[in-house]
């Protein structure tokens, strides 16, 4: 996930469109497998900040920053993780496209030193593409702990490119890396892979086709290999050139020649070409790894060693590896509890209870908000500002805009600072700790079976949990899901049933007075989540997704990373929230002047009354159109003034949770899924939320329950 850049001196953070300045600075592009520490390295090199966590798929967008080594300034580009130059998921394609389009001064291929055998294959592909390359062996400390030793000089000789070892999250090796960048010059002696008789003739022929001669950033040979593997981006690239040469009269004929070649090759080979190509590459990789990597410990290879064997196995190890082995044993034990089919559940409930309910709900949304809103703002800041403002500006109209009931200061700023920020901050703090330990992927495998019933795979746990923080961010992260169908279901459920942290915190706090109402609320929302997910998976065509996830090692979260990450997310959130809150205040002000506000309230009163709430509550839902948290904040206001009974609070909480996604999330859904789908999702959710509220209220009334 890419969040805000916190670097002052930059005029252009390149998040906005239209500021795609063609930078003159030489570019450094970071590429590599997911979860190897690219973002962490990006942060060290550029002095900017992009979010770092411990699971694959943290970055789904490209981040750009500026960095300096020695005298020179560089543009530094961080990319989403890619396993291979031939992408499977959308975020990998983002990185692949970047390599097609950019002209880097140097590419840093970042690999996890422990897993050289799995990662060198991409190095070979990047070399084949003739990209200027430095290989960065990251996480050297973890490799050493596991007794993995790598002869980087030999590796550099074999590959023909510089090799640098780093520990990016501790800043080790960065100096050496910068030196290597300064001295870098593209090498000419790159190792070439021979793919054998099944592939080579076709590769040669594709290379001779006119379309592949176009000016691509990657070598003809690499382009040819991608075309043989029927890669979409490579095909598009070729088609693009084809449009240019259409007048020359060569188009479709030779294009179909390409297809013909691919078909012929795979028919003759009797197996998918990408399988053959990958196997061939791995042969080269194994050859290299055999020469440069040695193991002195084998602990983690099977995970079954008994403790008494420990001494024997680790006897000859160095101190570091021995210490590492102890650490691994502990991680191993914790891991086996987290992933245990039975023991895993109580752990999850504990995390939810303490992390979400006690900390975010009761502490942040209860104690902290109460203090900030009622004491700090309510008793000190707001009365003071109001009296000053009224004295200075004698126009009631302007007074109303700034310090009135819905004023910019008295409502927008107070809500944003006193109500939303502490809750969101608390959630992001908990979330940062959880994600840095590597717990999320383990949660994913735990719930995969259940998630399959609602058309999702365990992988969807990450956006779903993130959705409890901010559904807008989470909608962006659904990109890591593999099928369109799964992404659509995830977007729908995020928009419908997952409350964002501000909403959740307020609802937890408002309902905490009545445990029965709280349980009923949680029950209804869970039920909706499962029911709608189940129905969606039945209605939508296509197959259920398959589940495959790399499990990162369990790690102790680092305080500095958590602090900086929480801060950066709050910063992002606040900047996004405040303008919308202010806008809402202004719109309401205009609406009240023109009478439109009263009209809109009148309209909203119908569904509000219908679900058994007092007409005053209409304003909460009207706010909900702007932002979910804004609506929730309105609910808090009504609760504070004691205007609602417990049953009404429950009904309002249910309706508001299910209610429209906020504007920001809606825009993100439009961006990820398209306008039509986003509108369809909203058109379903709006009546459905009120229908659910109606059912809850009618049911409770029929049963005569009072909470």
């Amino acid at each position: 996930m890419k969040l805000p850049f916190i670097y002052p001196g930059a005029e252009c953070s390149c998040r906005k469109k239209g500021c795609k300045q063609e930078s003159r600075m030489p570019k450094i592009v970071l590429v590599g497998n997911p979860n190897v520490g690219k973002s962490s390295l990006f942060n060290s090199l550029s002095g900017s900040y992009t979010v770092v966590s411990n699971y694959p798929g943290t970055s789904v967008e490209i981040s750009r920053g500026k960095g300096r080594t020695g005298e020179k300034e560089y543009e530094i580009i961080d990319t989403p993780g890619m396993y291979s130059l031939l992408p499977v998921s959308e975020e990998e394609r983002v990185s692949q496209r970047l390599l097609f389009e950019e002209t880097p001064f140097v590419c840093l291929h970042v690999v996890d030193a422990r897993n050289l055998r799995r990662m060198l294959s991409l190095t070979l592909q990047l070399l084949e593409a003739e990209l200027p390359l430095i290989l960065v062996l990251n996480m050297m400390d973890e490799a050493e702990e596991r007794g993995v030793e790598i002869d980087s000089r030999k590796l550099s000789q074999l590959l023909g490119v510089p090799v640098v070892g780093t520990v990016s999250n501790e800043g080790k090796g960065i100096k050496e890396l910068k030196a290597a960048i300064e001295e870098f010059s593209p090498s000419k002696t790159v190792k070439k892979i021979e793919y054998g008789a099944e592939i080579e003739p076709y590769l040669a022929e594709i290379g001779n086709l006119p379309e592949t001669g176009g000016e691509s950033r990657i070598s003809t040979r690499a382009l040819g290999a991608l075309l043989l593997q029927e890669d979409k981006t490579a095909l598009e690239w070729v088609c693009r050139d084809e449009k240019l040469t259409k007048e020359a009269g060569c188009p479709e004929k030779s294009f179909s020649r390409l297809q013909q070649l691919t078909e012929e090759a795979s028919r003759k080979a009797g197996a998918p070409l990408h399988y053959l190509i990958a196997l061939k590459r791995q042969e080269y990789v194994n050859e290299i790894v055999e020469q440069v990597m040695t193991f002195s410990g084998t602990k983690n290879e099977t995970g079954k060693e008994k403790e008494e064997e420990e001494e024997e196995i680790y006897g000859p190890l160095t101190g570091k590896a021995k210490h590492g082995a102890k650490k691994l044993m502990l991680a191993e034990k914790v891991d086996s509890i987290l992933t245990h089919p039975v023991l895993g559940i109580p752990v999850l409930l504990l995390v939810l209870y303490f992390g979400l309910y006690r900390f975010v709900g009761v502490f942040a949304a209860g104690t902290v908000v109460d203090f900030l809103e009622n004491t700090v703002f309510g008793e000190h800041i707001n009365p003071w500002i109001t009296s000053r403002f009224t004295a200075l500006v004698p126009f009631p109209l302007l007074q109303d805009l700034f310090v009135g009931e819905y004023g910019i200061i008295t409502q927008a700023a107070t809500y944003a600072i006193a109500l939303i920020l502490p809750i969101v901050g608390a959630f992001f703090l908990v979330f940062s700790i959880i994600e840095d330990t590597g717990y999320l992927p383990r949660l994913g495998l735990l719930v995969d079976g259940m998630f399959k019933k609602i058309g999702l795979s365990g992988r969807a746990v990450i956006p779903m949990v993130l959705g409890f923080g901010c559904s807008t961010m989470a909608t962006m992260v659904t990109r890591t899901l593999e099928t369109k169908r799964e992404r659509l279901i995830a977007n729908l459920l995020l928009a419908l049933a997952i409350p964002c942290s501000a909403q959740l915190g307020i609802i937890l706090s408002v309902l905490s007075g009545s445990p029965r109402a709280l349980l009923a609320w949680a029950g209804v929302i869970c039920l909706e989540f499962v029911l709608i997910g189940y129905l969606a998976s039945k209605v939508l065509p296509g197959r259920n997704p398959t589940f495959i996830l790399e499990l990162p090692p369990l790690r102790w979260p680092k305080l500095s990373n958590i602090a900086v990450k929480t801060y950066s997310r709050m910063h992002w959130y606040f900047l996004e929230v405040l303008p919308l809150f202010v806008l809402a205040s202004v719109l309401i002000w205009i609406g009240r002047l023109t009478g439109l506000f009263a009209l809109a309230l009148k309209v909203m009163e119908y569904p509000t009354l219908w679900i058994g709430l007092p007409p005053d509550a209409a304003v909460v839902f009207l706010f909900g159109f702007f932002r979910r948290d804004f609506g929730a904040a309105g609910l808090y206001g009504m609760y504070d003034s004691g205007a609602l009974t417990a049953v009404q609070l429950l009904v309002a909480a249910v309706t508001l949770t299910l209610f429209m996604p906020c504007i920001a999330q809606f825009m993100m859904t439009v961006k990820e899924r398209g306008l039509k789908t986003a509108l369809a999702i909203s058109a379903f959710i709006f009546p459905f939320a009120f229908l659910s509220g109606y059912m809850v209220s009618t049911l409770l009334a029929a049963l005569g329950v009072s909470m």
Binding site: R118, Y275, A278, L279, E301, L445, D448, T546, I548
Partner: protein, 87 residues
Amino acid sequence: MKIQTKIENTPLSPEATRLSSMETKRRGKISALETKNPGILQKLMAMGVLPGMPVTLLRRVPSYIFEVDQTRYAVDREIADHIYVSY
């Protein structure tokens, strides 16, 4: 470690078994991948699950957890069925 480059759609070695029915905590070697579903095949290969790699199954429930080289993966039954293993 030598990779088996000869491709067979079903592994014929008598000891070969699918990862899903592999004995837990016993070290084996990936002998082949099922090639019928190109999407799954490509994903597995890209993630470094390739013939010739050492493999150990750690858990079957709640998902299949296995280790290849130094990395752990969690997969569902369908994917576990795509990996053939020999001891």
